[in-house]
């Protein structure tokens, strides 16, 4: 026993006392013995890790979105079914690749990783692979293309060792395409033409992904309607298209079975087709969401319909379904130590679900030792009110600021007035406009995110800001406007909230819509010399250096209603202030951007009879621009009444702090 113990000591790297000519042989024996007695401790990998809270204040973080399959390939052994030249196939990226490149990300200033879903997916569907992770088949198992659970834990551990947080992408709205609707009741999945073309129109129907029908998908035979279409699960293990796991999810009653959402971009027409609004309403200028009947119909489709691609909609209103989803996803926290969830397609889940799911997840995380667990979601919609609604009481901590993303595009790419951004923020930031209804939660979520002092943070302070992602064309798509990207990044990394950078942005990737926007990062050679990489590094460094950029309140001190060559066209200026507290003076940073592509603009409207920009700084205060190379011309002395007049070249950012 003593000998075995000694062998184990060697095998585990502890000091061993065995020496001498037979040491080699003994080492071999020791290895064998170690393996057989378990002192290699393979079980260790099977034990849940001890969780700790590694986040002080989520606003300090710079999130970097990683599509695992496309980031870095660190292990050739999991390169199964890899087709690098096929944009819709697995390309080989994995957890080891990400581990290997943590240095690269740290150098960029990244402090949190949002990784694509880890669960096992349908392998492929209609020639497209589940490399992205959003086609869950098994909620409990790691997608083997990326590694295994120990490797995933290693990733989280090594990220934590660098004070990087790891956010897991999850989906509660749907599962992969694991069943079809047997519309013609012939027991096999078909695509079929229906109708005669004379007495009835010819329509095409796919049983994998039929259009929405609020009665539920209906079956139809040559003799006419035949009642609700049977749901047929598929058993094709060779492509992991088998009923979902855990097995309780393989329950017909756990799905809405209403078919695919069809209202995308044609809401009013769809409402009219469904008889919800009149032709006059359809043809009016009224926003569809303002027409109550249409709003209700569209939201019903969104919440109950299958997601395009035949992703079957889970009946999340059932208590047992909610509990099952809580269990499977809380287990991932407990098993791998994630620090937050990014939740997919939240607007397709009925809002009440979040009032059950989010508190329960927070409780489970806290019980496992993980406080300050961030839950944010994706409501892919420009409707700010809708987006913000998911952050109301007892719901999510945050959402992606989609409405802002579209306004940023308008302002920077299309030259829209910067006032648009200020107006948008008024619906989020309390006190900006007393008459404005606030769209985002103003009350911290119970048990939710707190700041470094432990003070709960309300959702409006935590919006996740972004420029593009895996579902959108990259910022540089169609227009290789790197200065425009840089000004957008300036905005992203200096405004309040949590910035999120999509992988490849730092390498000026410019792909269009999915899957072109999911390039292999390794084609860049992970270069760190590029202008955009350097720009992000500088901004993240500044953000790290200046606490107000991370935690400060935001107050717009200048925005423009002008466009084109107007004196202030393109100017957006805001202060980020940490109020005085506990004897510490207030800290303020002034951010000034000229978003215009061609117009040199000023923080003044005197040409139109107005005045200069008024800041909160005391007159005589000397400000210095900390961004970019020091420029004596940037030294600014605050004038009377806090006025500051600046002239900025197109696509210029300046970040002023008190000298």
């Amino acid at each position: 026993m003593v000998r075995i113990t000694r062998m184990c000591a060697r095998a585990e790297g502890r000091p061993a006392t065995t020496r001498g000519p037979c040491a080699g042989a003994l080492a071999l024996i020791a290895l064998a013995a170690a393996a057989s007695t378990g002192c290699f401790n393979a079980d260790k990998a099977g034990q849940a890790p001890k969780l700790t809270t590694v986040v002080k204040d989520w606003r300090d973080e710079v999130v970097y979105q990683v599509l695992i399959d496309r980031f870095a390939n660190g292990d050739a052994n999991n390169d199964q079914n890899v087709k690098p030249r096929d944009a819709a196939a697995y390309h080989g990226g994995d957890y080891q690749g990400l581990i290997d490149r943590l240095d690269y990300l740290a150098d960029l200033g990244v402090t949190a990783l949002w990784i694509s879903p880890v669960v096992k997916n349908v392998e492929e569907d209609a020639g497209v692979a589940g490399y992205h992770g959003y086609w869950a088949q098994d909620f409990t198992e790691v997608n083997p293309h990326f590694g295994d659970l120990p490797k995933l834990r290693e990733l989280v551990d090594k990220a934590h060792a660098r004070n990087m947080k790891v956010i897991l992408d999850i989906v509660t709205n749907h599962i992969g395409q694991l069943f079809y609707y047997d519309i013609n009741r012939n027991g096999q999945p078909d695509e079929q033409l229906m109708g005669s073309g004379t007495s009835s129109p010819i329509t095409r129907t796919t049983e994998w992904d039929p259009d929405f029908d609020e009665r539920g998908v209906q079956s139809f035979t040559s003799l006419g309607p035949s009642g609700p279409a049977p749901l047929n699960w598929v058993w094709q293990p060779e492509i992991d298209r088998v009923p979902p796991w855990p097995p309780e999810f393989a329950n017909d009653d756990w799905y809405h079975k209403m078919g695919r959402v069809t209202v995308w971009g044609r809401e009013k027409q769809a409402c009219f087709d469904a008889g919800r609004i009149t032709a006059a309403e359809r043809d009016s200028d009224a926003y569809w969401g303002a027409l109550a009947a249409c709003h209700d119909y569209v939201r019903m489709q969104e919440m109950l319909g299958d997601f395009p691609g035949g992703l079957k909609d889970i009946k999340t209103e059932l208590p047992e379904v909610r509990q099952a989803l809580i269990d499977v996803y809380a287990t991932w926290i407990e098993q791998a130590g994630f620090d937050g969830f990014r939740i997919d397609t939240i607007k397709h889940v009925e809002p009440d679900f979040w009032r059950t799911f989010c508190p329960a997840i927070r409780q489970r995380a806290a019980a496992a030792g993980k406080d300050n667990f961030l839950i944010f979601g994706e409501a892919f919609d420009g409707d700010d009110e809708l987006i913000g609604s998911f952050t109301k009481d007892d719901m999510l901590d945050s959402v992606f600021y989609f409405s802002q993303k579209f306004v940023i595009d308008d302002v920077i790419k299309n030259g829209a007035p910067t006032r648009r951004l200020e107006d948008l923020w008024k619906t989020r930031i309390p006190g900006q406009d007393a008459g404005q209804a606030l769209h985002y939660g103003t009350n911290p979520q119970p048990g939710g995110v707190v700041d470094a002092s432990g003070t709960p943070l309300p959702p409006w302070r935590l919006t996740v800001n972004f420029l593009d992602n895996h579902d959108l064309p990259r910022f540089l798509y169609q227009n290789q406007d790197r200065p425009g990207l840089h000004i957008a990044l300036s905005l992203l990394l200096t405004m309040d909230g949590i910035p999120c950078v999509y992988y490849g942005t730092e390498q000026d990737f410019s792909g269009g819509n999915d899957p072109a926007n999911r390039e292999d990062l390794w084609t860049s050679g992970f270069a760190r010399e590029g202008e955009t990489f350097a720009w992000i590094r500088q901004l993240t460094g500044l953000r790290q250096q200046l606490a107000p950029l991370r935690r400060g309140d935001l107050k717009v001190v200048w925005s423009s209603t002008g466009t084109g060559t107007a004196q202030d066209a393109g100017i957006l200026a805001y202060e980020r202030t940490i109020p005085a507290a506990g004897g510490a003076p207030a800290e303020t940073v002034l951010v000034v951007l000229n978003t215009s592509a061609a117009n040199t603009a000023e923080t003044s409207a005197d040409q139109a009879g107005g005045g200069d920009m008024i800041t909160s700084f005391a007159p005589g205060t000397k400000l210095v621009n900390l961004l970019d190379e020091p420029d004596p011309a940037d030294d600014v002395t605050v004038g009377t009444g806090g006025s500051v007049r600046l002239r900025l070249q197109p696509r210029t950012t300046k970040v002023f702090a008190v000298r």
Partner: protein, 547 residues
């Protein structure tokens, strides 16, 4: 030709043959034996010669069809007088010494059986058989070959072991089809030991063609022919008057009745798990009494034979974890997987009487065999037409067969005939699967020179199904008559001298009912006369397929 008359004529012919041969064969054989200069390795049920090493050298028989259902091999060979004389006299061994079996070859040995040839139908296509009965005439069989590789060891204390491996190669061959993929089967792979007891006991274990006497003209072993993976023993009494053989073996076919698998998710792609697997256990036993030289060289043997087949219940086996999920999704979508098959069994009883010693290579064999249940379908058979409980209970097969060979210096005559009843297990009384069938074959030969002879063969085969034709609702009476001419070059005079190079011309007449057995739209349905012209060679050279 009137069907009834031809059937009666066939049966009469074989009866005449059987009645005629013993009556005068001994004298003829005696007269001829003096004239034969060549030591004749013979084929046949009665008497196999002994090679210089003491091993039988006269295998014969090949599969009736080039599939794996019909084994090859040689007849069971009772020991010759020379064999007996060569054995140690009882009591001559030391009391402690086991009996040394000198029939075991030592060292490396190679053997082969083969037949190969090319043929045509006189219309440009390869020749095709016109057989319709289960065991038809072998003349138009496809090519087939076996190679034996063996090794024998005998220790000074008498203990001996031989190992045998037989690889078989099935038609079509590469040079005909251009397809380099060759169908190969392992027909023997076993080891046998002897000389470990004072009595003459041999034990064997392995994969083996395990069988008795064949009917050369039909390439058929009518009493006992098992292909088995198992083990058994053979015991001979000291005076060689009794032989007892027994064996137990198993098979598990790649068929849904014995093996079912299902794909399940794996790390990447799918794994396959075995859902149901059951193996057929086959036990056989045979006891033979030999009456050596009862009258002159005339010898007799009588064998009693039995088999028992058992298939256990086809239970579906899978993990109890998440049973409902597995059953509902992996299995329910394929009901064939879900069917639980009951246990099944069956058996065989049979007998054989053999007479030899009335001329070189001459013999007469009579076989009777009755099989029931599972055994009626053969050891590789998957029961069809099963009973309501899905067993083969009620199925039966009854066979009566006779074969003979007689030859002298100038002439030879082979003949055979059998009748066979098969009834499947279902309760359909008028069923096309229930039938009588039979064939009679007569092959006379004239040995013009030592190495050249001319043979002719006439056969008549018939079938009487109980069912009625699906197209005309009438009872059918299919019959085929084959008339063949076979000029041949061979190693010497005799019906079993091999290698034999021969030209075979065969004209077959098929009545309308026989032609209707071909599939619809097969052009042979239109042709009452069909021709076969082939050039063939057949050999057996130290082939070692014997029990």
């Amino acid at each position: 030709m009137t069907p009834g008359i031809t059937r009666v004529a066939s049966l009469c012919a074989v009866a005449l043959v059987l009645a005629w041969v013993p009556a005068w064969a001994p004298a003829a054989a005696q007269a001829q034996s003096a004239q034969r200069a060549d030591p004749a390795p013979v084929h046949g049920t009665a008497q196999a010669p002994v090679s210089p090493q003491g091993a039988s050298v006269a295998p014969s028989g090949t599969p009736a069809t080039p599939d794996t259902s019909a084994p090859s091999g040689t007849p069971a060979t009772p020991p010759t007088a020379a064999d007996i004389a060569a054995l140690p006299v009882a009591g001559a061994d030391t009391a402690a010494s086991p009996r040394a079996d000198t029939s075991f070859p030592t060292g490396f040995r190679f053997g082969t059986y083969g037949r190969v040839g090319f043929s045509g139908d006189l219309r440009g296509a390869p020749g095709r058989t016109t057989n319709m009965v289960t065991h038809g005439a072998r003349l138009m069989e496809g090519s087939y070959a076996e190679t034996d590789l063996g090794y024998g060891i005998r220790l000074s204390d008498g203990f001996a072991v031989r190992v045998l491996m037989t690889l078989a190669f099935f038609d079509e061959f590469f040079h005909f089809s251009g397809n380099a993929t060759q169908a190969i089967a392992m027909r023997n792979l076993y080891a046998e030991a002897s000389g470990f007891l004072k009595t003459d006991l041999k034990v064997w274990v392995g994969s083996r063609m395990y069988r008795g006497d064949d009917i050369y003209l039909l390439d058929w072993w009518p009493l006992d022919a098992l292909n088995t993976l198992g083990g058994g023993f053979s015991w001979d009494s000291e005076n060689r008057a009794w032989r007892l053989q027994a064996h137990v073996g198993v098979n598990r076919l790649k068929d849904g009745s014995m093996l079912r698998t299902v794909s399940v998710p794996s790390t990447y792609g799918a794994d396959t798990i075995t859902l149901m697997e059951r193996q057929r256990i086959i036990a056989s036993a045979k006891v033979t009494w030999f009456g050596h030289k009862l009258a002159g060289d005339l010898s007799l043997k009588v064998s009693l034979y039995g088999e028992y087949h058992r298939l256990p219940r086809g239970t579906l086996r899978y993990s109890g974890d998440y049973k409902q999920y597995f059953e509902e999704f992996a299995l329910a979508q394929n009901p064939d997987l879900m069917t639980v098959l009951p246990a099944d069994d069956g058996g065989v009883i049979g007998a054989q009487i053999g007479l030899w010693g009335f001329g070189p290579d001459s013999h007469v064999n009579l076989f009777a065999r009755y099989a029931w249940g599972l055994a009626a379908y053969g050891e590789w058979g998957v029961p069809w037409g099963v009973a309501l409980d899905r067993t083969s209970s009620g199925a039966k097969e009854f066979v009566l067969a006779a074969s003979m060979n007689w030859e002298n210096h100038d002439f030879g005559l082979m003949a055979t005939s059998y009748g066979r009843l098969f009834v499947d297990a279902d309760r359909n009384r008028y069923d096309l699967d229930d039938y009588w069938e039979g064939i009679t074959v007569v092959r006379p030969a004239w040995f013009a020179t030592t190495h050249f002879h001319v043979a002719a063969e006439v056969s008549h085969q018939w079938k009487v199904p109980r069912g009625i034709g699906p197209n005309d609702n009438k009872h059918h009476d299919p019959q085929v008559v084959q008339m063949s001419l076979l000029p041949a070059l061979s190693l010497g005079r005799g019906m079993y001298r091999r290698p034999e190079f021969r030209v075979v011309y065969s004209a077959s007449w098929l009545n309308a009912d026989a032609r209707n057995l071909f599939p619809k739209f097969d052009e042979r349905r239109d042709r009452a006369w069909q021709h076969y012209l082939g050039v063939q060679v057949e050999w057996w050279l130290d082939s070692s397929s014997y029990p």
